[in-house]
């Protein structure tokens, strides 16, 4: 393949990138190219050796490597071109893409469309401002996961986990089974941050102590972590005097949230949504720059890998269409705005001309609410939680009534008395 002929270039080969590339090829794009910085396809799936992947997408309970394997085979069978150990270092607003690897040096491409599928990365100690010394033994949960599951190292013997995100809980179980003592999971909120199935099957199954409304206020140790001081927090998440206690440990894992990885998007100049964390997209997953699409955790952090792949397929399909037709017609005109107790909505704009699935992230846990989207959707919920995204399907015929009339739809949660 000549790099000048690329129809669709996909950046990243995790569950989003591979799904986007496969869909683009199936939709008729001739030259589809995946650019991946690691030495193999699959992204983070390789280190996720636990199950729970693909329940929705494949109707089977797979592990991360198995989920990846199915997509890798399809990438190979379809003749999708792949550049491994290749880092995209720049994208310009007119879709010029610069990449580099040690075989070819610098590579210049100008694909007809680009799909951003860079995923997300973990929030680290620097973003938490925990006081104390800076010893060895502080890892993000995902780094520990890579060490334990891929590289074959145990990060420590006595572990405290700050934050109750899914990766943290999964590592609590994994480390326990590897003979490590997990002393506590410490969560600043009054409830667990990840999925309920992980709460039960990773923490309760192994009797791992959970301290809700607590946080780490000090890290001790010079060369290596020796202990952490934790304290109870008040409603404003401030430590309460007199509630401090020391926990002796040699390792602190952080599982305190994920951030979409958008350095390249920013370079290209696409509009970003500070609430969702990624590019502003329409229902085709096209960004504010025509020809640049995005899907998966680079757009917003999903709960389930299945949704990552599905969303990226939308991006891949439209990227292929654009590469073939040169034009997709008018963009979405209806803007979706988060109202009461809504953190973010993806996509941020819709055209009203297609069926669309909205991904709605809640701000705070609330019981007995109704979720309303303008006058076209209304649904009661017993409980809504930030850890469990809400998917809402809107049909084109419902949206049709808005065309020409509405330019804005507000989604909001409001208190609602459920019938008993």
């Amino acid at each position: 393949m000549k790099y000048s002929d690329v129809d669709v270039a996909v950046i990243g080969s995790g569950p989003a990138g591979m799904a986007a590339a496969i869909k683009a090829k199936e939709e008729g794009a001739e030259h589809v190219l995946i650019l991946e910085r690691q030495e193999q396809l699959g992204g983070l799936l390789h280190q996720c050796v636990h199950n729970g992947f693909g329940l929705l997408y494949f109707g089977q309970d797979l592990t991360g490597p198995e989920y990846a394997h199915r997509f890798v085979e399809k990438v190979r069978d379809l003749g999708i071109e792949v550049l491994l150990e290749t880092m995209v270092i720049r994208i310009s607003g007119d879709r010029k893409l610069t990449a580099a690897n040690s075989r070819e040096g610098t590579i210049f491409l100008r694909p007809k469309s680009i799909v951003l599928a860079m995923g997300c990365r973990e929030r680290s100690r620097g973003q938490l401002s925990i006081p104390g010394t800076r010893p060895a033994g502080i890892f993000t949960a995902g780094t520990a996961q890579r060490l334990v599951n891929v590289e074959g190292f145990i990060p420590g013997r006595k572990v405290v986990i700050l934050g109750s995100g899914d990766i943290g809980m999964i590592m609590a179980r994994r480390l326990t089974l590897e003979g490590v003592e997990v002393k506590a999971v410490v969560e600043i909120l009054p409830y667990i941050g990840g999925l309920i199935r992980n709460e039960v099957q990773c923490l309760y199954d192994f009797h791992i102590p959970i301290l809700l409304e607590h946080t780490v206020i000090q890290i001790h140790g010079e060369q290596r972590v020796k202990a952490v001081t934790i304290a109870k927090v008040d409603k404003n998440k401030r430590p309460v005097d007199g509630t401090e206690q020391n926990i002796e440990c040699d390792t602190l894992l952080l599982s305190v949230g994920l951030i979409p990885e958008n350095e390249l998007s920013r370079m290209a100049g696409v509009d970003l949504d500070p609430l969702a964390g990624g590019p502003v997209v329409d229902e085709r997953r096209e960004t504010s720059i025509p020809g640049i699409f995005a899907g998966g955790n680079v757009v917003h952090v999903h709960d389930l890998v299945d949704d990552v792949s599905w969303e990226a397929e939308i991006a891949g399909a439209w990227a292929a269409k654009l590469a073939q037709k040169g034009d997709l017609g008018k963009k979405g005109k209806i803007i979706l705005r988060p109202g009461r107790n809504i953190r973010s909505i993806v996509p941020q704009t819709i055209s009203g001309q297609n069926d669309v699935t909205l991904y709605i992230r809640i701000k705070e846990m609330e019981e007995k609410v109704q979720l309303r989207i303008g006058a076209i959707y209304n649904q009661a919920f017993r409980v809504v939680k930030p850890s469990e995204i809400i998917k809402v399907n809107l049909l084109q015929k419902e949206l049709n009534s808005l065309r020409g009339k509405t330019t804005e739809l507000i989604a909001e949660c409001e208190p609602f008395d459920l019938p008993a």
Partner: protein, 121 residues
């Protein structure tokens, strides 16, 4: 009569249910659930709490020190720790194909431990 508390994982609600257990270990009464799927889940979780067991085993390749594995069907959760200890003794020799049986019938559970990735030369 014994009481057993089980949290339902069927949906974000996470209902905390209480099962009253009779002398014959039979479920006498369940409270706290909010739907019939939830009721069914907690009864099954009480009778036979099973999980897919996932882990890694060592390989003989320095460039790829671990091979991920799992059981091909769920095993009792009370056996998870023993299963992890059992696998410490195993070393995978390449080539291994995804799905290949690494250890049949682990701990007499009827479940085979299978590779969840290829290990090729």
């Amino acid at each position: 009569m014994i009481e057993e508390k089980i949290i339902c994982i069927g949906c974000p609600l996470g209902c905390e249910t209480t099962l009253k257990i009779g002398d014959q270990a039979e479920v006498v009464k369940i409270t706290g659930y909010k739907c019939k799927e939830g009721r069914q889940y907690v009864v099954e979780e009480y009778r036979s709490p099973v999980r897919i067991f996932t882990a890694t085993i060592l390989t003989e390749k320095s460039a790829r020190p671990l091979l991920p594995v799992r059981t091909d069907r769920p095993i009792l959760k009370s056996k998870l720790k023993e299963a992890a200890l059992t696998l410490v003794r195993f070393k995978a020799k390449s080539p291994v194909r995804i799905g290949q049986v690494i250890l049949p019938n682990i701990l007499n559970t009827g479940a085979d431990v299978i590779a969840t990735d290829d290990l090729l030369d």
